[in-house]
């Protein structure tokens, strides 16, 4: 968590008609840091993720990205080709529904290899070895390298999506509710795995979730959003143990104790 931020955004605003999706949002993500964005449905979490990752344009504000050489780029000013390259090298995006992030008619190995081939890998043996290695890392039997993702369970599909995203060693990964739609025991395993990978690879992760427990487990810092505004932010434990804003207090109080 040292040095200069990988990603910084200031004054982001966006409205969908009369509905404010983002209002004057600022955020910074430092290398190796996990930042969670929590809030209820419709609070603008996913919109913020889409704006930060360059998939959507804000009406006001800037998003800046620092490349590995230390040069700062405005994400909104980047060309489509540069943004696409960024998305498959230094960045990654994990969708809530693995079907959005995977090619369902391509084998697990092909799914992992796609990013490698997109950035120019042309040696079949190396691509395959790398794919097998990544399957092992996300706890999928390497023997299923030629299996179709459609035949995988939901948890496996999500882990495959993570492997496919991390194979090019990105420094920043966006995750949109990665544990949504999975049952609790599978969620727990997935969270464990994400936590181990983040620690191993020194990833910076920007994770959107409505699951406070997941946020507490993974995140170093927490932003609480409501109606397009960041109402509270700080270290995860501080925000969750001593919530200042009334909405955060409500959110923390609503978590069911098992």
């Amino acid at each position: 968590m040292s040095g200069l931020p990988l990603l910084e955004a200031a004054g982001l605003s966006l409205r969908f008609g009369p509905v404010p999706a983002l209002e004057d949002v600022s955020i910074e993500v430092y290398p190796g840091e996990v930042v969670a964005i929590v809030g209820e449905s419709g609070s603008g979490k996913t919109t913020l993720l889409r704006v930060l990752s360059g998939m959507m344009r804000p009406e006001a504000g800037v998003v800046r990205y620092r490349d590995p050489e230390g040069t700062v780029h405005g994400v909104q000013e980047m060309g489509e080709a540069a943004l696409r390259r960024l998305h498959r090298t230094d960045w990654g995006f994990v969708h809530q529904n693995p079907r959005d992030g995977l090619r369902m008619r391509v084998s697990a190995g092909g799914n992992i290899g796609e990013r490698l081939m997109a950035v120019g890998a042309r040696h079949y043996g190396n691509i395959r070895a790398e794919a097998a290695e990544w399957l092992r890392r996300v706890e999928i039997e390497p023997g299923r390298i030629d299996g179709m993702p459609a035949l995988f369970s939901g948890g496996m599909q999500q882990r495959l999506q993570i492997a496919r995203t991390l194979v090019t060693r990105p420094r920043l990964v966006f995750m949109d509710e990665p544990t949504g739609g999975l049952d609790v025991s599978v969620q727990a395993r997935l969270l464990d795995m994400i936590r181990a990978l983040v620690a191993d690879l020194g990833l910076a992760v920007l994770i959107v979730t409505h699951d406070i427990a997941a946020a507490r487990l993974l995140a170093h810092r927490l932003l609480v959003m409501r109606r397009g505004r960041v109402v509270e932010q700080g270290l995860t434990d501080r925000v969750l143990d001593d919530p200042q804003h009334e909405y955060t207090q409500l959110l923390v109080a609503s978590v069911l104790a098992a």
């Binding site: 489509e80 080709a81 696409r84 090619r103 391509v106 084998s107 190995g109 092909g110 290899g113 796609e114 990013r115 081939m117 997109a118 950035v119 042309r122 040696h123 079949y124 043996g125 691509i127 395959r128 390298i145 030629d146």
Partner: protein, 282 residues
């Protein structure tokens, strides 16, 4: 003799001009698909309307036309297209590859190497090499614009993982001039190396899909492959039963109902030329 009531080469001059402009653009950007307004032709889509439109736009009174279908000069498609141009343009036709100035082809490149000044016109059913992999046309255009062809390699990867080799025997995707991914039309992968740095001009017309693309003379055309699984053209392991060639692309012909078969050259002109040379030598 020329049929009356038609403009030279069947198409009207404005249409030919439009197609020539598309051709110029296609030659300027090798491998890039240029849209054009395909006209109704006196034969159905899928029978070579794109190729005919291109031929009609480039043919001149002094040209000599050869038309092949699967390498043969004497099949229905080849005979009727050749006769069509003899009637509406009054041009000479030939079956000899070396005598022709324009060769319209479906599914083959002649065995005899082409030379400068010749034009090879391909009939193309589906110009988009990515269409089986990416169903959205807008997305394929974006991929071409960004030279984002990782997906095509994913397909090759899948083939090797499943079959041990790239299981594409025809329409094998190529990269033109190191930039554009291109469908070579359904020619056998065996013919792909002939496209590389060919001295003749190669024009591709897809009538139904309304696209024209081109490979100018001496342009690099590389079949996609992996470093450890290099591209390998496939050929039946037999000599031609008629001319004995071990280099040409062969058709397998079933000769009886007891499993008998023979292999013969698919290029009829190449085969008969070799046979007549052998007879002359005897």
């Amino acid at each position: 003799m020329t049929a009356l009531g038609y403009n030279f080469g069947y198409l009207d001059e404005n249409t030919k001009r439009m197609i020539r402009r598309a051709l110029l653009k296609a030659v300027a950007i090798p491998g890039h698909q240029v849209p054009f307004g395909a006209r109704e032709m006196p034969l159905p889509y899928g029978w070579g309307t794109g190729g005919i439109a291109v031929t009609a736009s480039v043919i001149g009174a002094s040209d000599r036309l050869k038309v092949i279908d699967q390498g043969a000069d004497d099949t229905t498609n080849a005979v009727s297209i050749r006769r069509f141009f003899a009637r509406v343009a009054g041009v000479e036709t030939t079956e000899r590859t070396t005598d022709a100035t324009i060769i319209q082809t479906r599914h083959r490149i002649p065995e005899t190497p082409l030379r400068e000044g010749q034009i090879l016109v391909y009939q193309v059913p589906m110009p988009e090499p990515l269409f089986r992999l990416e169903p959205r046309v807008a997305e394929t255009k974006r991929m071409h614009a960004l030279a984002d062809y990782g997906l095509m390699h994913v397909k090759l990867y899948e083939d090797i993982a499943r079959h041990g080799h790239v299981a594409i025997s025809y329409n094998y995707p190529v990269l033109v001039g190191g930039r554009y991914l291109m469908s070579p039309s359904p020619i056998p992968a065996f013919d792909n190396p002939k496209m590389d740095r060919m001295p003749a001009l190669q024009l591709f017309g897809a009538g139904r899909e309304k696209r024209i693309y081109a490979v100018p003379p001496y342009t690099a055309v590389r079949s996609l492959d992996f470093e450890d699984h290099p591209f390998q053209p496939v050929r039946a392991d037999a000599p031609c039963a008629l001319c004995g060639s071990r280099e040409s692309y062969l058709d397998e012909v079933v000769v009886d109902d007891r499993g008998g078969r023979m292999f013969v050259c698919s290029d009829t002109d190449y085969c008969s030329t070799r046979q007549s040379h052998q007879e002359a030598a005897e």
